[in-house]
C-alpha cells in the first residue's frame, strides 16, 4: 500500500481538547469487576495510552468514557461536567474502533459527512469539512470509493477522519491499529500522533502493544485486573516501574533469582538498587532489562559465566539469551556484529541500574 503524506489543513480551533476525569469508576459484569474504582485525570490535548493484557479493563474504561458501557458507580467528567448518564451521541466524542466500522453502503465522503449530517450541518459546509478531513488523513482523492475498495489502513484513516470531522472534545481510539500489518501500523500510529497534536485534541488510545503505547503517548496507564497499576510518561514507566507487573509488561525483562539484602537486590554477587516499595530481606526474582546486561571479560568485576542458549538477529541489533550457572536465562542486546554460536562460553556483567523484584516462594 502506498501512503501519501497527509496535508493538515483542518482547523484546530473548536477541536481543542477537554479535561477528562475518571473518578472512582466501577463497572461490574455479574460477579466480575471489570473496573475497580479507576481514577484518571487527562489534561487538555494530552495523549494517554491505556495499556495492559487482554481482560485488564482498558477497553471497558474507554467504552465507559464513550458511553457505550454504563458504569455502576463513580463519575466521568469532561471539562468538569459529569457525563456518566449522558448518552453517547451527546458526549461530543469521536471514536475509532478496532474492527473496520465504516458504513458499507456509503461512500468514503458520505461516511465522513455522517457525523455532520447528524448535527444538521448544511450540505455545502459538511462537504467542505469532510473533504478537508480526508485531505488531513491523505485520502482526499478517495471520497467516491466504498469501504470495500480500500485497504485496512485506508479504512482506519477514513474512520479517523470521520471521528475528527465533528471536532470532538475527546478522541477515543480502541486498538485502531491491531488489524493492520506491522509497517502500516507504525506509519499510521505516527500519523495519528501528529494529527492529534496538531489539533490539540485530548486522546485516549487503547492498546495491548507496549511498544506502540510507549512510542505515541504523552503518558501511559498500565492496567491489570480492572485497576491502573501505574500511570506515567513512557520513560518513567520504563525506568521506574512501581512493581514487577509493570516492569514485566513494559519492555523486555529476564527473571533472575536474587536476594534482597539491606534494601538492595543481590544478583550473582552484584548489588543493584531496588525499585518501588522497600522489601524485607529474602529471596526474590529480579526483573533485569537486556540493556542492563553487558558482555564482559573473565577478569571483569562481577563477571558471570554463561553459555549461549539462543541468538536472534533483529536488524539493527542482536538479542542473545544466555544460560546462567543456576539454570536461569538472561537476555542481552548487543552489537549486531557479535554473532555468538549456541553453546559458546561467555561472561556477562550487570550494570548497576535499579531493578524491580518480587518475592520468591
Amino acid at each position: 500500500m502506498t501512503l501519501t503524506a497527509p496535508t493538515r489543513t483542518m482547523s484546530a480551533e473548536s477541536g481543542s481538547g477537554a479535561t477528562v476525569e475518571l473518578r472512582g469508576v466501577v463497572k461490574n459484569y455479574g460477579s466480575m469487576q471489570a473496573l475497580s474504582s479507576i481514577d484518571l485525570v487527562m489534561e487538555p490535548g494530552e495523549f494517554i495510552a491505556l495499556l495492559g493484557p487482554s481482560g485488564c479493563g482498558k477497553t471497558t474504561a474507554l467504552r465507559a468514557l464513550s458511553g457505550l458501557e454504563t458504569i455502576d458507580s463513580g463519575s466521568i467528567l469532561i471539562d468538569g461536567v459529569d457525563v456518566a448518564s449522558t448518552p453517547t451521541n451527546k458526549r461530543d466524542i469521536g471514536m475509532v474502533f478496532q474492527s473496520y466500522s465504516l458504513f458499507p453502503h456509503m461512500t468514503v465522503i458520505e461516511n465522513v459527512e455522517f457525523g455532520l449530517r447528524m448535527r444538521k450541518v448544511p450540505k455545502a459546509e459538511r462537504r467542505e469539512r469532510a473533504t478537508e478531513a480526508l485531505e488531513m488523513v491523505g485520502l482526499g482523492a478517495h471520497g467516491a470509493r466504498f469501504a470495500h475498495q480500500l485497504s485496512g489502513g485506508q479504512q482506519q484513516r477514513v474512520a479517523l477522519a470521520r471521528a475528527l470531522v465533528t471536532r470532538p472534545r475527546v478522541l477515543l481510539l480502541d486498538e485502531p491499529l491491531s488489524a493492520l500489518d506491522a509497517k502500516v501500523r507504525v506509519q499510521l500510529r505516527e500519523e495519528i500522533r501528529r494529527i492529534t497534536r496538531d489539533l490539540g485534541i485530548t486522546t485516549v488510545f487503547v492498546t495491548h502493544d507496549q511498544e506502540e503505547a510507549l512510542a505515541v503517548a504523552d503518558r501511559v496507564a498500565v492496567m491489570r485486573a480492572g485497576r491502573i497499576e501505574q500511570i506515567g510518561t513512557p520513560r518513567e514507566l520504563y525506568a521506574t516501574p512501581v512493581n514487577p507487573f509493570v516492569a514485566d509488561f513494559v519492555g523486555l525483562t529476564s527473571r533472575i533469582p536474587g536476594e534482597v539484602v539491606d534494601g538492595e537486590v543481590v544478583v550473582f554477587g552484584t548489588h543493584l538498587p531496588l525499585l518501588g516499595e522497600p522489601q524485607a530481606d529474602g529471596p526474590v526474582v529480579a526483573l533485569i532489562r537486556p540493556e542492563d546486561v553487558a558482555l564482559a571479560t573473565e577478569d571483569a568485576e562481577g563477571a558471570i559465566p554463561a553459555s549461549v542458549f539462543a541468538s536472534s538477529f533483529l536488524g539493527s541489533l542482536r538479542r542473545t539469551e544466555f544460560l546462567l550457572p543456576d539454570g536461569s536465562i538472561i537476555a542481552v542486546q548487543h552489537d549486531v556484529n557479535d554473532a555468538p554460536e549456541v553453546g559458546d562460553a561467555a561472561f556477562l556483567r550487570l550494570r548497576k541500574a535499579p531493578v524491580a523484584a518480587s518475592p520468591r516462594a
Partner: protein, 263 residues
C-alpha cells in the same frame, strides 16, 4: 471434492424436469379444447371479455384479499419481527436462541393443528377487530415467522451491526437515526428477502383461510376449479409465476450486492 460440471448439469436437468413437467402439463391443459383433443386460446382470451369480471368475481375477490393479506403480513414482519430481531441482536444477545426457537416453532406445527388453536382466538379477534379479511394476517404473521426470521438473521449475522450502530452513536446519531440511516440500508437484502418470501407464502396459503371460512386466492381457485378448471389452472400458473419472479428478485438482490462488493 467438488462435483464436475457434467454432474451438476445432470442433477440440475433431472430436478428441472421433475419441477417443469407438471408446470408444462398445467400450461398445456389451459390450451385444451374440452374433450375434443384440440387446442384453443379461448380459456385465456375469455379472461378479458366483458363478462369476466362478473363470472370470476369470487376469484378476483380472492386475489384482492390475498394481496391485501400479503401487504398486512409484510407489515407485521417489518413492524413487529424486524425491530424485535434488531433489538435482540444489539441489546439482548442472550435472548437470541429463545427468539430463534419461538420463530421456528410454526414450521413444526401443521397448519391444521394451528387452525385448531387459532379458531377460538379468532372468535375473540372478530369481536375486537371485526370479521374483515385482513385480520387473517395475524395468523399469517405466525406462519411466515420461520422464513422471515432466517432471511433477516442471515443478514444480521453477515454485517457487524453492533460496531456499525456503536459508530453511529459516537457520531451523534440517536437510535432512530441509526436504525434509518445505518441499520436498515445494510439490512435491505434480508428485509426484502423476508418480505418476498412472506408474500409467496401468503399467496400459496389455503388451509387456514379455508378452515376459518375466509376467501383468498387459493380457496377461490378451489371453488372455481369445480366449475371452470381451465381458469383455475391459469390463475394457479400466474400465482406460481408471480412467486417465481419474487424469488428471482431475491436472488438478483443478493447477486447485485456481491457484484458491488467485488468491484
Amino acid at each position: 471434492m467438488k462435483p464436475s460440471n457434467l454432474t451438476r448439469w445432470i442433477i440440475l436437468g433431472i430436478v428441472g424436469v421433475v419441477f417443469a413437467f407438471p408446470i408444462f402439463a398445467m400450461i398445456e391443459f389451459t390450451f385444451r379444447d374440452g374433450l375434443s383433443g384440440g387446442h384453443t386460446l379461448d380459456h385465456w382470451t375469455g379472461l378479458f371479455t366483458e363478462d369476466a369480471a362478473r363470472t370470476y368475481r369470487n376469484l378476483f375477490t380472492g386475489i384482492g384479499n390475498s394481496l391485501l393479506l400479503a401487504v398486512v403480513t409484510v407489515g407485521i414482519v417489518l413492524i413487529v419481527l424486524l425491530p424485535t430481531m434488531i433489538l435482540v441482536h444489539l441489546q439482548f444477545p442472550r435472548l437470541k436462541r429463545v427468539l430463534e426457537f419461538i420463530c421456528i416453532i410454526p414450521i413444526t406445527v401443521p397448519a391444521i393443528v394451528l387452525v385448531v388453536g387459532l379458531a377460538p382466538v379468532y372468535s375473540v379477534v372478530v369481536q375486537v377487530a371485526g370479521g374483515s379479511i385482513w385480520t387473517l394476517a395475524f395468523a399469517y404473521g405466525i406462519t411466515v415467522l420461520p422464513y422471515a426470521y432466517r432471511a433477516i438473521q442471515a443478514n444480521l449475522d453477515a454485517v457487524d451491526m453492533i460496531t456499525l450502530s456503536e459508530a453511529g452513536r459516537t457520531l451523534n446519531a440517536n437510535w432512530g437515526r441509526i436504525l434509518w440511516h445505518v441499520l436498515l440500508p445494510n439490512l435491505k437484502r434480508g428485509v426484502l428477502a423476508a418480505s418476498f418470501i412472506s408474500v409467496a407464502v401468503v399467496l400459496g396459503e389455503f388451509t387456514i383461510a379455508s378452515l376459518l371460512n375466509r376467501v383468498n386466492l387459493q380457496t377461490a381457485l378451489l371453488q372455481i376449479g369445480s366449475s371452470d378448471p381451465y381458469v383455475a389452472i391459469i390463475f394457479a400458473l400466474l400465482a406460481l409465476l408471480f412467486a417465481f419472479v419474487l424469488l428471482l428478485s431475491i436472488g438478483r438482490i443478493g447477486q447485485a450486492r456481491r457484484t458491488g462488493s467485488d468491484s
